[in-house]
Amino acid sequence: MYICSMKKSSLYKGLLEPIIIQLLKDNGRMYGFEITQKVKMLTKNELQITEGALYPLLHRLEAEGLLEVSMENIGNRIRKYYSLTKAGKKETVGSKKEIQSFVETLQILFNPKLA
């Protein structure tokens, strides 16, 4: 539905959760807009996470206990930061392994000589 915009969007479906978890692992704590910009920057505009996909996922991960939030006053507004909980940190190990095995599987299928 509204996973990620931009070309090849369907290819990224299902990867949004590990992407966010990995970003939070690397950056400590981040807020929603920062996540969208970071992904855009790191992938050189190849991948753009839409707000309609990002926030529901962040809220679900928070409800599942993988993320915790902290609020910070930044002048005339309040910012909500997300960071990984202990359970979320454990999840990074699992999701990284899953993605690696996913990439390897794709390599077997699309580039059997390299595999």
Partner: protein, 228 residues
């Protein structure tokens, strides 16, 4: 950086687009403000209103609706999970002693006098109902004083669902004229003793859930709750 008036207009914009919960509004306002600022920095001719319109369009045809509904589902799930966690905690050592003492006490009363057992059960059920209503009302009053709508307010919707079986299936049987003859066996009095202990533990878990939701709100939004 946007001015205070512009931030205020973002809150109004959220309200107009059916984002009623303050927790969601706060996050959206910061997101909209960031996105608007980025657009205005790139194009100095762009007005605030025009930039906001463009940012809102980026949310897609459904606008903010998926965000609000998902947050609502996530918050309800979080409350339910917390309640069951606190409930299950009561069955861990040493808290389980409380459950055992309650069950043994009720069972002993039943052996002593069934009529006292019956009225103890009825009184505890009524007291439980009063405590539930009082604690739900208390959090509602606290939230109402802020003039804002918060997601933990929805706890009041899930509390009656949890206690529904007790009041619908078991409570009426106690008021039945034939109750005393119906429970005149060790297994049935033991069953009702366990049931009552579970009910009391559920009340404790509900009170802990509500108090945890309250603490979390006060911690997350001190600027809103410090004035109440």
């Amino acid at each position: 950086m946007l001015s205070n008036e512009q931030i205020e207009s973002l809150f109004i914009f959220c309200e107009k687009h059916f984002v009623k919960y303050y927790e969601v509004q706060l996050e959206l306002v910061d997101h909209l403000a960031n996105a608007v600022e980025t657009k205005m920095d790139k194009d100095h001719k762009l007005t605030f209103e025009k930039a906001l319109e463009e940012v809102h369009r980026d949310f897609g045809v459904m606008g903010f609706a998926p965000l609000v509904s998902e947050k609502q589902i996530a918050a309800e799930e979080q409350s339910r999970k917390l309640f069951w966690k606190l409930f299950k905690d009561q069955f861990r050592w040493p808290k389980i002693l409380g459950f055992l003492v309650l069950t043994v006490a009720m069972f002993t009363i039943s052996k002593f006098d069934l009529s006292i057992f019956k009225w103890s059960f009825v009184s505890i059920m009524i007291a439980g109902c009063i405590i539930e209503i009082y604690s739900v009302l208390k959090i509602h009053i606290l939230l109402a004083q802020t003039g804002k709508k918060f997601l933990p307010g929805k706890i009041s919707e899930f509390v009656p669902c949890i206690f529904f079986p007790f009041y619908v299936f078991y409570f009426p049987s106690f008021l039945d004229k034939n109750f005393l003859s119906a429970v005149n066996s060790t297994s049935s009095t033991l069953f009702y003793s366990i049931l009552l202990s579970i009910f009391i533990i559920m009340i404790i878990a509900i009170l802990q859930t509500i108090s945890s939701a309250k603490r979390s709100l006060i911690k997350s939004f001190p600027e809103v709750f410090s004035v109440t």
